[in-house]
């Protein structure tokens, strides 16, 4: 068994998310500059590894071999590990996961993570058509089975089996827009009401436009290092406690099983809690993958914040607001920030860093938080990724909790 080193995030930088008048290259440079400014003690020569989360640069900006290009744009030379990760919507967290593993095993001492996606262009319908390739293109995509119809059917089944309502779905957006309105980097910074969500244009019933996250441009970057070097760079390191991934062999509709049960997420959460010897009650805040409002409701359930089938009630009772049982998406989630695929998972970690450092506006600050998790899903919710972050090192976690 390899002895795993403790790993910290010592720097974090983000671009404004949205429909940006900026190219893919511009976004990479903006995020790079932001993270270098965040860690003034870092000499670029210290960075030995680079992990780039990017989902479809081949389709959206017609560029491949993107990790070496990012190294060039940021002026870094990589001598240990360089890689681009692609698992669609979770490409960003996958990049963090591999950077964590590289530093934990001693292969890398200082690793950089960049998540980036440029999705808006004048070829908007082509961009949307590219989302079809995330599922089984030949056998599902061909039927127009892209993300909104898939999550609409998840919502329909959840309503059918557990009595969840459109109002409860809308309440997720209301909460996340409240926090998003206090996040200057978010694509949408306006509060909305339940009526506004229900009255917005229908995308795929029962989901309206406001039940869906947007097509977004954005980038986010992190610097990771080991326990030995963390204090060279910051007084406020945020520690990576661990991470899990789970996928069942499911890519096509035939393998999905029941849409209203995300078995993969349930298994991933169980693995994470057993790895860290914690329970859902120990989690103070969670950035979860609310690509659609219904997703967040299933995530409450499968992450163990409430019983199966009671996710609708959980939001209705305000349990996922700051001050409730667990603060969910205090950064505004994907619904407010938008969802630039490769950048989303990295933004979730960025939010954790800002929260633990106390560098967020008071109305969305989770005061006293000790453990936070980030959940990033991909595809038709088959692949689930969770990472746990803390102000404590793993070895210093109170074992009695």
């Amino acid at each position: 068994m390899i002895r795993m080193r403790e790993v910290a995030i010592v720097g974090a930088g983000i671009t404004r998310f949205g429909v940006r008048e900026a190219s893919w290259r511009d976004l990479v440079q903006e995020a790079g500059k932001a993270v270098f400014d965040d860690v003034p003690n870092l000499d670029k020569k210290d960075i030995d590894s680079l992990f780039v989360g990017a989902a479809q640069p081949e389709r959206w900006v017609f560029q491949t071999h993107v990790a070496p290009y990012v190294a060039e744009l940021l002026g870094i030379n990589v001598s240990r590990v360089i890689s681009r990760t692609e698992v669609a919507c979770a490409s960003g967290q996958a990049a963090i996961r591999y950077a964590w593993l590289a530093v934990a095993t001693g292969l890398s001492d200082v690793a950089m993570v960049v998540g980036v996606e440029k999705m808006n262009s004048k070829f908007m319908s082509v961009s949307q058509s590219s989302m079809i390739n995330v599922g089984n293109r030949e056998f599902d995509g061909v039927n127009g089975f892209t993300a909104p119809p898939f999550f609409a059917m998840v919502a329909q089944r959840h309503m059918h089996e557990f009595g969840t309502t459109s109002e409860q779905l809308a309440m997720v957006r209301v909460k996340n827009s409240y926090y998003g309105a206090r996040n200057p980097y978010a694509q949408f910074q306006k509060e909305v009401t339940v009526e506004k969500v229900l009255g917005s244009r229908m995308v795929a019933p029962p989901l309206t436009l406001f039940d869906c996250s947007a097509i977004t441009d954005g980038a986010c970057a992190l610097i990771l290092t080991s326990e030995e070097r963390a204090r060279e760079f910051t007084d406020t390191p945020v520690w990576i406690l661990g991470g899990v991934q789970h996928v069942d062999s499911a890519h096509t509709t035939n393998q999905f099983g029941d849409l209203s049960h995300w078995v993969g997420l349930r298994k991933a959460a169980k693995d994470l809690y057993s790895m860290l010897k914690i329970s859902p009650d120990d989690i103070d805040m969670a950035e979860v993958h609310d690509c659609f409002t219904i997703s967040e409701i299933l995530e409450y359930e499968e992450l163990g914040f409430c019983k199966k089938g009671e996710g609708g009630k959980f939001i209705e009772e305000g349990e996922s607001y700051i001050g409730g049982k667990v603060a969910v998406n205090p950064g505004g989630g994907l619904l407010s920030n938008g969802h630039p695929l490769g950048a989303t998972g990295v933004r979730q970690a960025w939010e954790m860093v800002m929260q633990f450092r106390g560098e967020v506006p008071e109305e969305r600050y989770v005061n006293g938080a000790e453990i936070g998790i980030a959940h990033n899903l991909s595809g038709m919710a088959q692949l689930h990724h969770i990472m746990a972050y803390s102000i404590y090192k793993r070895k210093d976690l109170k074992q009695e909790v």
């Binding site: 319908s125 082509v126 949307q128 058509s129 079809i132 089984n136 293109r137 030949e138 056998f139 599902d140 995509g141 061909v142 039927n143 127009g144 089975f145 892209t146 909104p148 119809p149 609409a152 059917m153 329909q156 089944r157 059918h160 244009r201 229908m202 995308v203 795929a204 019933p205 029962p206 989901l207 436009l209 062999s249 096509t252 509709t253 035939n254 999905f256 099983g257 849409l259």
Partner: protein, 165 residues
């Protein structure tokens, strides 16, 4: 200073849409675009909707495959998908349809189960036309129907959709 004309590179009048947006491209029996499950498409042309079952372990696949992922067996047989199934879930795509079928939006997209899923059946997605979201309910009986995909040019290919029984 002597004036000079700048060199010009004249591009085509029209740059066609990325061919990858054609979602039915892989239906060829031979050549570099050939698929080894061509039998599936040949059957569609004949009005049959089939898939593979592994003779060794009995596993039914969808999509049809050339190697069984359950037991690695290559001894597979073609079986017909039952004509009638049950609507498991559905929605209607009103915004964001793929470019190639944009003209048909809004249309219903459904997931239906044929046979005794998952043990001895399949769960499949499909389009539904001439029906709207409000007309349908979970559990409705549906059947598959073969349709012709006409174009681009004089090309004809085959696919399936669902209709309510």
């Amino acid at each position: 200073m002597a004036s000079h004309t700048r060199r010009k590179l004249k591009l085509p009048d029209q740059i066609p849409l990325n061919p990858l947006l054609d979602l039915w491209e892989q239906q060829e029996p031979e050549g570099p675009d050939a698929t080894r499950i061509y039998e599936f498409y040949r059957s569609l042309a004949e009005g049959k909707f089939v898939t593979t079952r592994c003779i060794t372990c009995g596993k039914i696949h969808f999509p049809p495959l050339i190697v069984c992922p359950n037991c690695n067996g290559e001894d597979l047989e073609w079986i017909e998908i039952p004509e009638e199934g049950e609507l498991y879930a559905f929605t209607e795509l009103k915004l964001g349809a793929p470019v190639i079928v944009e003209d048909y939006a809004p249309f219903v997209i459904a997931v239906a189960r044929f046979g005794n899923y998952p043990e001895n059946g399949v769960q499949i997605s499909g389009m539904m036309f001439d029906v709207s979201y409000e007309d349908l309910k979970v559990g409705d009986r549906v059947t598959w129907e073969i349709m012709e995909i006409v174009g681009p040019g004089d090309k004809t290919r085959y696919w399936y959709c669902f209709t309510r029984v």
